[in-house]
Amino acid sequence: MRLRTLFTVAALGLTMALPLAAVTSTPAAAKTFRWANDGDVNSMDPYARNETFLLSFNLNIYEPLVRRTADLKKDPGLATEWKATSPTVWQFKLRQGVKFSDGTPFTADDVVFSYGRAVGPGSNIGTAFASVKEVRKIDDFTVEVETKYPNPIFVDEITNWGIMSKAWCEKNNAVNSADLTKNEENFATRNAMGTGPFMLKSREPDVKTVLVPNPGWWDKPQHNLTEVVFQRIANGATRVAALKSGEIDMVYTIPPQDVEPLKKSDGISVLEGPETRVVYLGFDQARDELLYSNIKGKNPFKDPKVRLAFWQAIDTDAIKTRVMRGQSQPVALMWAPGINGYSKDVDVRPKYDPEASKKLLAEAGYDKGFELTLDCPNDRYVNDEAICQAVTAMLARVGVKVTLRAQNRLKYFAQILGPKYDTSFYMLGWTPATYDAHNAMQALMQTRDNKQIGLFNVGGWSNKKFDDLANTIAQELDQPKRDAMIKEAAIIHRDEVGHIPLHQQYVVWAARKNIDLKQQADNMFPLRFVKVN
């Protein structure tokens, strides 16, 4: 009896204390912003992977020389001004008085160091510096970048390049980026320290990452947050339920099937718009024998007929209506509308025609089809695994037996990206960070030089004429001429079926009505524009 009384008292005490505790720990001014995504930020290192989500998250902590406003205009970041002093030299004046969040001042040494780190071993963002010959310190607050050839869009290429502290990296033994494709880790993988608007407070990989505002940030904050909690919630329905219940304030990826129901629910605003990302399939065309296939001694994907047969077997319109519920726009180019270099008259897909596809396969000598493994992420692009399943079924109908291997993004990218390129048939998506087609050409389609060019050309498609065009485009200043060359290159790639572009996916975010935020067409999500009302 006495024990029971004790329990009752304890329980009563607890129920009374809990709400009290909740009240006292949340002062009136606290503005905590909770948001969730299906996949985690796989590293706190801003050079670990050239992936929108990772860059976007880490650019809240690290800042670039030139940042972008919410409507994607260039805006002075750590550099106050920049100009080309000669056709091949860019000069940056650095912002004075900026301190890293550990108190050390920001100087030109950090910029030079960050360049070395970005093109050094383990870094995945080297492509942005393909044109760079040298980065020089002129004085403490002036830096010069010399390019190998005139590069008019260099400044656009480095808006995702966060500057790291030389002293901090050296002190913590993180001078080089840990290579995510080898599952490496170093201090900078789980810790972060930059000049940006936010600081990393705690990090539990795959669970929760907490940011707090940087009180010493040089700029006047537009946000009113006191804490940002990012959670990984893998299941789409759970994410939506958490948003509806108010457990989280914003969801970065809404499954297409939940968009309509969410629009009808009270207190939630759905933000949607086409993303400048093209989701595509690629083939291993570099190896003489595929790694994951039953065809030995030759590589079927070296034959353009096989590649065209695959394209004609895939019904992108069905994927649009069923898997994406209308929230995608099929494309035939590797860059979507909204990217400089897109031309409507080149955007013509070969007709979906399984019979023609079978015929092509037979002409190529595969009348009985073949077996193949398709590599696919399951938490990266909108409905990625479902798209791959649909592709698997469509290819089965023309006789190609595809085994699907779907993995989370950490394992997936570690496997398929360079230097291993360990795949035969894969799915990727790309947003040109410069909003210009040349970025996609250089990163995805040019012949790999195993340094910076073609770093994401996972399948190793290679075409001499295309390479020449891409190199000329990089230096061409005359806009009409440049556009004409981009168009020519796009036609070469399309007619050779270097990749199979599937669609441009729509970005769908949802947030509770009291959250004030802006959606960007590049799907970057800078927290510095978020307000909790």
Partner: protein, 308 residues
């Protein structure tokens, strides 16, 4: 031979167990339901209207077809299709088969392990008994699902995704089996403690039979009654555990979907109104588990001499 068989059948029909079976309509119903599930599951390649594993027959344009009684329903797909255009009825039949295979195998594994350890523990006593029973006690303090999750996680970490997908079924059987052996061991040990001092065991010992033989030939048959009851109830538990694990995404991969995997896939479409993708596999799971549980309850009562 035939005479012996018919004699056996007559004796079975005359027995108390069959009498109590005949007089319990609920038991007859659950037996029929269980039987339907068994037949539907094990003969699914012949009975199912479609083969959900033959992806070449899938048509994406058929995806999200609702059940036939709703507008836009299609009589080819009586209870609708899932997000890839698979016939749900066939998927459930194939899925039940996978669930049952996992269930039976893990029950068999748990039973063999538990019964042997229980026999050894009860028959030898002393140190052996203490060690085995303390391990069992410790394990009993953890929920079975937790242990299964832990084992599955460890194996997955050791093997890597691809290997794991190929061996997912074995891993599941192993983890579920390992989390349920304790009940068998405890029960068998208790019965063995009662049996081992009876005259027939002493007699066998006096003639000089080896311990292993005494345990298997003489003690085991006399302790099997309770084991059978546990096994029946455990089949339902194992199927539920498998479904839970698969629902959490650590069980069977979507390439060989079990009921739990089907429920998980459908779960993503609950808010958008495609309720049938998750509700029907859910109903199938619930009905099957209920039927097997009722059978197990009846068996327990029928075998309990005090309730006769």
């Amino acid at each position: 031979m035939i005479a012996r068989l018919s004699d056996g059948l007559r004796r079975a029909l005359d027995s108390d167990i069959f009498y109590s079976f005949r007089n319990s309509p609920l038991t007859i119903l659950s037996a029929v339901v269980t039987l339907i599930f068994f037949i539907g599951a094990f003969f699914s390649p012949w009975l199912a209207p479609h083969n959900p594993f033959d992806v070449a027959t899938l048509n994406l344009m058929d995806a999200f077809t609702p059940p036939v009684w709703l507008p836009e329903g299609n009589p080819i797909y009586p209870i609708g299709t899932d997000d890839q255009g698979r016939d749900l009825l066939s998927a459930i039949m194939y899925g039940t088969r996978v669930s049952l295979v996992v269930g039976f195998c893990s029950v068999a594994f748990a039973m063999v392990l538990g019964v042997s350890l229980g026999l050894i523990s009860g028959y030898f006593g002393g140190m052996v008994d203490s060690v085995i029973m303390r391990v069992a006690d410790v394990q009993l303090t953890f929920p079975a699902i937790l242990i299964a999750l832990l084992l599955d996680g460890v194996v997955r970490g050791l093997m890597g995704t691809e290997q794991h997908d190929n061996l997912a079924l074995m891993v599941l059987v192993f983890s579920i089996g390992l989390s349920y052996w304790v009940q068998y061991a405890r029960t068998v040990r208790g019965s063995v403690l009662v049996e081992r001092n009876k005259e027939y065991v002493q007699a066998a010992r006096v003639i000089g039979l080896p311990s292993v033989l005494i345990m298997i030939r003489h003690v085991l048959p006399n302790v099997l009654g309770p084991v059978l009851v546990i096994a029946t109830i455990n089949l339902a538990l194992a199927v539920i555990t498998e479904a839970t694990l698969s629902f959490l995404g650590v069980g069977l991969p979507p390439t060989q979907p079990s009921l739990g995997t089907l429920i998980r896939i459908g779960n993503g479409f609950l808010f958008s109104g495609e309720w049938w993708i998750t509700v029907f596999p859910g109903i199938a799971l619930a009905v099957f588990v209920l039927a097997v549980n009722l059978l197990g309850d009846w068996l327990r009562d029928a075998l309990n001499p005090r309730l006769r």
